[in-house]
């Protein structure tokens, strides 16, 4: 369980997190979404006691992180997979982390096995691919068998196989009854992994909802209609309260009437319909709608340096 309450974090004049409140509960994969620079990493750092909040609180399992007893047994986190000494072996890295919290050496071997790194356990991490480093980071996060886990952009730079592996892994952890918070700036990725979503922009909460509800609430659920008598049909639909937009290719994007109603209407007036396609917004669209709104703040808040987007 992670509870963030009216969290504010300023770096000088820059406000990275601006009054954020949310709760992450066990048993789900909770996606933590926002564009680059929205404040996701800062929030995670505050949760881990690495950065001190300007105001507000962040509690893990009901306590301030810095007050946790042997924190790795309560919270496992992967913030930056590349944060490794290049000259240390995977096993030595895990052992140094394990020892700091009195975790048995046996767990190191188990986590290497679990993450498929046994074969490279004695190799220096200098030569590791990003995917291998991500696995090593996950192994380190799981060392203390913690009930709460946090991963910052864990799929960044991974190949398809690596992404699928992490996705299944996160779901298994949540199914196990753990609290799992995963940040990403990629909505499409979260759509396949997260049950719940916390969307932030400019350090503020935009949405705290389930993935399904976010899609449902999107304004982009419409029906695409093609007809040789499009103008005539458009007028009829508008007369029944629908909103009709004509696309560049002449097709109509209709909201406010569903596909059967449009079909019946056209048939009733003897108008031929060549296409009648109900379209639901992708999660990506819903996300863009939300973050579009958050970027409106740009006009009124001072410009902040952007993070370099990671491809």
């Amino acid at each position: 369980m992670i509870e963030v309450d009216h969290l504010v974090k300023r770096y000088g004049t820059v406000t990275a997190v601006d009054g954020l409140t949310f709760t992450v509960r066990p048993g789900h994969v909770t996606g933590f979404l926002g564009p680059n620079g929205a404040g996701k990493t800062t929030t995670m750092r505050v949760i881990l006691g690495l950065d001190v909040p300007t105001s507000g609180t962040a509690h893990v399992n009901g306590r301030d992180y810095r007050a946790l007893i042997r924190p790795l047994r309560q919270v496992g986190a992967l913030l930056d997979a590349s944060a490794l000494h290049p000259g240390r072996t995977a096993e030595a890295h895990l052992l140094s982390v394990a020892r700091s919290n009195g975790i048995a050496r046996r767990r190191v071997a188990e986590m290497l096995q679990l993450t498929g790194l046994e074969a490279v356990a004695n190799r220096r991490v200098r030569g590791f691919s990003l995917g291998m480093k991500q696995r090593l980071g996950i192994a380190a996060a799981l060392l203390g068998d913690p009930p709460t886990l946090m991963f910052d952009e864990p799929v960044n730079g991974l190949d398809t196989e690596g992404i699928a592996w992490i996705r299944d892994f996160l779901k298994a952890l949540a199914a196990d009854g753990r609290t799992v918070l995963v940040s990403s700036h990629l909505m499409s990725e979260m759509a396949q992994t997260a049950d719940r979503l916390i969307v932030i922009g400019r350090g503020r909460l935009i949405a705290d909802t389930t993935t399904a509800k976010l899609i449902e609430s999107s304004a982009r659920n419409d029906v695409l209609v093609r007809s040789p008598r499009a103008a005539e049909l458009a007028a009829l639909m508008q007369a029944r309260g629908a909103t009709v937009k004509t696309q560049d290719d002449g097709a109509l994007a209709v909201t406010g009437l569903d596909a059967p109603a449009i079909g019946d209407l056209a048939a009733g007036h003897g108008i031929a319909v060549h296409a009648l396609i109900p379209r639901s917004a992708s999660l990506e669209d819903a996300y863009l709608d939300l973050t579009d709104q958050s970027t409106d703040f740009r006009a009124t808040t001072p410009e902040r340096p952007h993070e370099v987007p990671i491809p």
Binding site: R45, L48, G49, L50, D51, V52, Y65, R66, L68, I69, R70, P71, L72, R73, V75, A77, L79, D80, S82, A83, L84, H85, P86, G87, R88, T89, A92, H93, L95, S96, V97, R99, S100, N101, G102, R106, R107, E110, Q113, L114, G116, A140, L142, G144, D145, D168, F169, A172, L173, A175, D176
Partner: protein, 269 residues
């Protein structure tokens, strides 16, 4: 494969904060799991042994009647020069490799009591450099005296004042390494940290060049003069006595570590 496959059941709750022994074990593992530690130790051991023999040889070939005979313990002190630089780097790297890679966040997430991390790093680097320093000091002494005994310029370890001075030679590596740990934690960049250690060691010595009586008065407080006093068989009379110089010598790293303890908890990691 799922996360549950190899779980050994829920861990028993441990009603203890992070234990000093655990943090020490972790830092010990870190120190001895990278090659740089071994290379630095090699430099710190081999160069003084070689240099002390060479310096002693140069001493023993001085023309007769060329002024007062040099301090027979000076070769041992001079030979520490490269070893000092090596252990300065070792001390600085303790924190700066973690800050430069971002590993420090893993460390502080595992051990939120940051001063415990500072203390543990200082302890493991301190133990290593103290042992190394004494090995080097007595090794260099033995070699230098073997060379100097030819022209009968050498001294025996049994002579009063000699064991203390040789022990002090070894202590210097420890002192410099501790300066490195403290300044590395403050500066957080490897190059900057090394520059800071060298700067703190050498720059104040410029004070000793001031016109008398200022030069001598201020010079007594510098690391270099204090080190020279505690390692000499015949300490200079215009500086602090060796016992007080020893306090000065230890006060420098103590100040660096204290400053590190203050800033380390105040900054975001």
């Amino acid at each position: 494969m799922t996360a549950t496959d190899t779980r050994p059941g829920p861990p028993a709750p441990v009603p203890l904060p992070v234990r000093a022994r655990d943090v020490l074990a972790s830092e010990w593992t870190k120190l001895f799991s990278v090659r740089s530690t071994y290379w630095i130790l090699l430099v710190a051991v081999v160069t003084p042994l070689g240099t002390s023999a060479l310096v002693a040889a140069a001493f023993s070939h001085q023309p007769a009647g060329g002024g007062a005979p040099p301090d027979p313990l000076l070769p041992g002190f001079i030979s520490l020069e490269y070893a000092v630089l090596a252990v300065a780097v070792l001390g600085v790297l303790a924190f700066t490799t973690e800050y430069s890679t971002g590993l420090i966040r893993t460390t502080f997430a595992a051990v939120p009591r940051r001063r415990a991390v500072l203390a543990a790093k200082a302890a493991v680097v301190g133990a290593l450099t103290l042992v190394t320093g004494e090995v080097v000091a007595f090794g260099s002494f033995g070699l230098a005296q073997a060379v100097l005994s030819g022209p009968h310029l050498g001294v025996s370890l049994s002579r009063p004042g000699v064991p203390g001075a040789v022990l002090a030679d070894g202590l210097i590596l420890f002192v410099v390494a501790m300066m490195g740990v403290g300044l590395g934690a403050i500066v957080r960049h490897t190059a900057g940290g090394i520059a800071a250690v060298v700067g703190v060691m050498i720059l104040p010595s410029i004070l000793a060049l001031l016109r008398p009586p200022w030069g001598g008065w201020l010079g007594r407080f510098t690391l270099l003069e204090a080190a020279r006093q505690v390692t000499a068989l015949h300490p200079a009379t215009n500086l602090f006595a060796p016992a007080i110089s020893l306090v000065v010598l230890l006060a420098w790293p103590a100040a660096a570590l204290l400053a590190a303890a203050v800033v380390i908890t105040r900054r975001d990691a």
